[in-house]
Symmetry: C2
Subunit: 163 residues, 2 copies
């Protein structure tokens, strides 16, 4: 999308603590859940900014075995008044969620503060994620409570910076 | 973002009723609210798809007077089991919302089903929007309840298809 007036703006001070995320990351992950077979995926994630006090975020994943699209999510990352990290996120499965948590250097720990479900959404009730960057490697783990199952490890991936 | 395996997929049958939205639209709008001065904006909106049962959505707006970025929002459009339209949306102001409503030909009427707010979010409590396409023109109106104000007309715009 065009953004003629604001190309090349410096990162807003309010989100400087999240600057380590900026860029595009790609790699592979694995998923599991009590209700499904384990699976492997290829993933690409981009964090950007427009000079305002948030990061933009787009995620896509594809099946490693046959290339079909799997998950997607998109939203924004913010830093709250107390230095907390805030994530507002839409999922194409009908979920709009807010996660909040802590920033400790290059490591984030978040858990869902609210999960809104559309009428046809998958019944997800809680999500938490850890995300950390070490050099040009971004790793994350995600746990989820859904389908009447208790919160449990669902995803983990290792991504490499590609731009 | 790359999508090597699925370029050129046909639109999924489940979202065929939303096909009239596909494309990129640009134009101008005006905003007002009890707590602020009226303002004018330039806007660009894109609806896309990946072959799965949702449309992707990205919106950006800029001040007409000085080009500074104003609002943004991103998320997904779905069609529920009963033919209802569903919108899951993230706003960089700390809002993650679900809107639902009706599809009547090229006209959509939606209102918020849930609004999740991050700790530092603007206090928005309800959003409703009407959106309709007539040829290559997309018009919408948006009403909002926020900042302890009753629901009231906030935005209206007329966009033209540019791709």
């Amino acid at each position: 999308m065009s953004e003629p007036a604001r190309q090349g703006q410096p990162l807003h001070d309010d989100v400087s603590a999240l600057g380590f995320l900026l860029g595009t990351w790609a790699g592979e992950g694995q998923g599991k859940y009590a209700t499904i077979k384990p699976f492997y995926y290829r993933e690409e994630v981009s964090f950007g900014h427009t000079g305002k006090a948030f990061l933009t975020y787009v995620q896509r994943s594809w099946s490693t075995s046959d290339g079909r699209p799997l998950h997607a999510e998109t939203g924004y990352w913010r830093v709250g008044a107390e230095g907390a990290v805030e994530l507002v996120l839409a999922h194409p499965t009908g979920i709009a969620e807010v996660e909040e948590g802590t920033i400790d250097g290059n490591r984030l720990e978040l858990s869902s503060r609210s999960i809104g479900l559309s009428s046809s959404a998958k019944p997800v009730t809680a999500i938490s994620r850890s995300l950390w960057v070490d050099g040009d490697i971004l790793r994350y783990k995600l746990a989820m409570a859904a389908f009447d199952q208790p919160a449990q490890q669902h995803l983990n991936a290792e991504l490499h910076r590609i731009s």
